[in-house]
Symmetry: C2
Amino acid sequence: MTKPCIICVAITGSLPTKANNPAVPITVAEQVESTQEAFEAGATIAHCHVRNDDQTPSSDPERFARLLEGLRKHCPGLIVQFSTGGRSGAGHARGGMLSLRPDMASLSVGSNNFPTRVYENPPDLVDWLASEMLAHEVKPEIEAFDLSHIVQATRMAADGRLKSPLYVQFVMGVKNAMPADREIFDYYIQTLRRLAPDAEWCGAGIGANQIVLNEWSIAAGGHTRT
Amino acid sequence: MTKPCIICVAITGSLPTKANNPAVPITVAEQVESTQEAFEAGATIAHCHVRNDDQTPSSDPERFARLLEGLRKHCPGLIVQFSTGGRSGAGHARGGMLSLRPDMASLSVGSNNFPTRVYENPPDLVDWLASEMLAHEVKPEIEAFDLSHIVQATRMAADGRLKSPLYVQFVMGVKNAMPADREIFDYYIQTLRRLAPDAEWCGAGIGANQIVLNEWSIAAGGHTRT
Ligand SMILES: [Zn+2]
Ligand SMILES: [Zn+2]
Ligand SMILES: [Zn+2]
Ligand SMILES: [Zn+2]
């Protein structure tokens, strides 16, 4: 294959603590060090969450600013992607760090169930986050937890709420949402190609499905999340 | 075609008032009369919501009981389906009428965006509604607003939370959820056939998409909602 595969690394996530795994980088210094290792090992994008001192999820722009500064310094050329996911804050707090102008930010354009709750992304919040990304020239990574999220992203690109070409991540293996289903994975690719031929995509599997989605994505010519 | 097409009629819905359309039946007496006309015109299933005196949505079991009684009397053989949708109540109130043992009830097994809000069906509520339907021998109509909802229903059937064969309604034309997309409609049918070969399905289009989904569904050998 001549097209390079982009590896996106999620260093910290929003939930795991040192009690779950002592190797999880929590402080900004730990995150910068851990990201640098991944960057040197070949990661192109770093998907970033920040944490409070007690390890709980945070959306504090000041912490994001320090992380961005550390990554710019230690990983020149790394594409920094901030999470706007729902665990670290509510409402507009989820996008308060976009004015820092990271290279990318995650963006959910629909709602779905998670293992024990509803992952809520109300339409007005989605539109506001998208407009903030346009205003600050932040490239969104669309998090597609279901088929309609792919379709919705292509509609938002068509009416100017998102900029083309889209970059879409297929997230599979989420309990009560979409499992890692090979036929549906292929249909995701086919649908994105039909509705947004210039889009790029990336596959992400949750938990034990990570390696499965890595294999499927690389073989199908997409990008992937580790 | 030798297989009969089931026509499901939604007489009232949860929102439209006399101000929107003077013909909308609001009181139980009006609903019974209107349903009887549809029944005599060929409807097999009546999808029912009840309303308060001020026309706002209700989930009052007493009103559902009067409606059921009227329909049993005036439409013998009609399949009565109660809505457990989220507009008429919150939490367990959405299933408070299931002990009346209607023939069917609608059941959403996932969450998604609606035009201006999140349609919330948290996993524990979904499981509770499904268990109430099992306990009272009420046949669920699965409301599939997205692809993962179809998959989730087949998983719930596999582990005993739902009884097979499934009856699944594909809902299309919802702003911010799934549009009326012909290729996706075909893929819905294909996926349901793959994961639950004995399932029956029905197509429902919102607003101007109603007639579109009627045509697609009838031509593809499914059932449909008017
Ligand atoms: Zn994340
Ligand atoms: Zn990615
Ligand atoms: Zn309804
Ligand atoms: Zn129906």
